[in-house]
Symmetry: C2
Subunit: 191 residues, 2 copies
């Protein structure tokens, strides 16, 4: 019953996601969103609530699509070393893919925003990613596959920092080859 929606909600959400990805939460305006989504403000608000909720949906969608390579890499390799190596290699590929904005949305979209909820939401995702790396390393350490003096938390912080640096480099124009070299060098820190 009622008039049918004239736009595809999923496509509009993907466009909004890319706008937030490119400009961050605060620098993305409703005017910019309606422009790329092909939708007028009242339709946007009827379909997504408000800017904050639309951003939340965009982040969730990002995690399930563009950002899903990370958990797949950590879960889909027989050793922690192979998992982290794949994680870094796929980050180099995804962060420089010209089909979408460069770098990682979780890392960049919350920088320089004043909304504490947005900052905390993204920081939480970053901390969860770091913890996932740490747990994967600890699993191999407990299985005796790594030297006993292995410092899993320090390694996890290191690789998280490298990935965040790769995201910044990608936004500054680094190529996939540049980031591949960064990934290779980072693996020299493996115990």
């Amino acid at each position: 019953m009622g008039r049918a929606r004239a736009f595809d909600r999923d496509i509009a959400l993907e466009r909004a996601l890319e706008e937030f990805w490119r400009h961050g939460y605060e620098a993305t305006s409703i005017a910019g969103l309606t422009a790329v989504m092909g939708v007028n403000p009242p339709s946007l608000y009827a379909a997504f609530g408000d800017k904050r909720r639309l951003f939340g949906e965009a982040v969730r969608r990002y995690q399930e699509t563009h950002g899903a390579f990370a958990s797949r890499a950590l879960a889909g390799e027989p050793t922690a070393r192979a998992a982290v190596e794949r994680l870094l290699g796929e980050a180099a590929e995804v962060y420089t893919d010209p089909a979408h904005p460069p770098g990682c949305m979780i890392i960049s979209a919350g920088v320089n925003t004043s909304d504490p909820g947005v900052i905390e939401e993204l920081r939480g995702h970053r901390e969860a990613g770091k913890a996932a790396i740490r747990r994967r390393i600890e699993r191999d350490a407990e299985a005796g596959l790594l030297p006993p003096e292995t410092d899993a938390p320090a390694l996890a912080t290191f690789f998280a920092a490298v990935i965040q640096g790769m995201s910044t480099q990608a936004r500054d124009g680094a190529s996939r080859e540049d980031l591949d070299a960064v990934a290779t060098l980072a693996m020299r820190a493996w115990p």
Copy 2:
């Protein structure tokens, strides 16, 4: 001749610097600046021009004070290895110093801003920093102090990425010890 200025220009500039450092260029408002600087808008504009020029002065001041440790580290050690080691160690210290905002202003203040001039100015400083690391490594390579297959540009990109990751980690709440561990692990990539 004329009425004397009622505020200290240098102190006001340092306050503005820290405000830009903490919130970035675009998220820093004139109202926020006048509040921390203890100055009314007309005095700010008379003394510094406009927001864009005040930011330029703040960046220059940052490079000459809080950010000067980088060029000092690269110029003040006998080997490239010692220089980069000192660079990373001092970054860990400075980025987590509670006396000022966390992380590096050059790395974070331009994220998610729409002004292309601001983006390019900061990106230029980052590229200059990366080039300085590369030249320091090349100097040792040409002197025969490093293996002949040493890839100076790749190493420079790697250490620049690590430093940028350390800045992000610091803004996420990492301690100096956390960043020291990252620096130590990064040095394992040294040729």
